[in-house]
Symmetry: C2
Subunit: 124 residues, 2 copies
């Protein structure tokens, strides 16, 4: 359970499709998880309904053998929050977590971002 | 997207059922989400296979209208990692997030724990 939990809050995202298109966003996540060498064991997505100002956001998660990836989009704010938590059971997955977060961040084309990280499970 | 992200890493959990029983764990999460006044929009659970040392762990997520709850159990270590991230879209959900995390933590009966928190989406 020891591992790295990375978060990124993305602003002024130029890739509007990824903010509102569930299939595009899910496909991106599936591809980037595989490219990072991580293993998907399940996923779940939800689209919020459209409102007078435009389409609703998307919220979703990819369950990983190594923990999880979570994404929430706010198209009305052209913003996204990302979480990648990977445990190091069997091997150090920190570089894979960073690669996945970086690839997803790049895809949204944010104007600016705020990244944080936590070490998890250090007492175990 | 502004909101509070709480994490808790739980050790020496005495409630072994919740570490290995998907239905019990999912039911607990569903009940506690509702009691905290948060809204479920989807969920996904995965049980890892048993191994020579005992049953596999459970990983799962509840997608919330307010963001997400994620749980990973490690029965071989009697340990759990919890995440509750709630955005404050429309109202301040910080107290609901704390109530949910506390209720879940109590249910696992941990001998000790490590709690952290992040403020998310502050630039938006």
């Amino acid at each position: 359970m020891n591992g790295l939990h990375l978060t990124a809050d993305l602003y002024d995202c130029a890739n509007h499709t990824l903010l509102v298109d569930e299939a595009a966003l899910a496909g991106l996540c599936q591809n980037e998880v595989a490219k990072a060498g991580l293993q998907t064991v399940g996923e779940r997505w939800h689209c919020f309904p459209s409102h007078p100002d435009g389409p609703g956001g998307i919220t979703g998660v990819v369950l990983l053998a190594e923990s999880h990836l979570a994404i929430h989009t706010w198209p009305e704010r052209t913003a996204v929050t990302l979480d990648v938590y990977v445990c190091n059971f069997g091997r150090d997955n920190s570089e894979a977590a960073k690669a996945l977060l970086n690839a997803l961040t790049t895809a949204f084309e944010p104007g600016h971002k705020h990244c944080q990280q936590l070490q998890r499970g250090e007492l175990g």
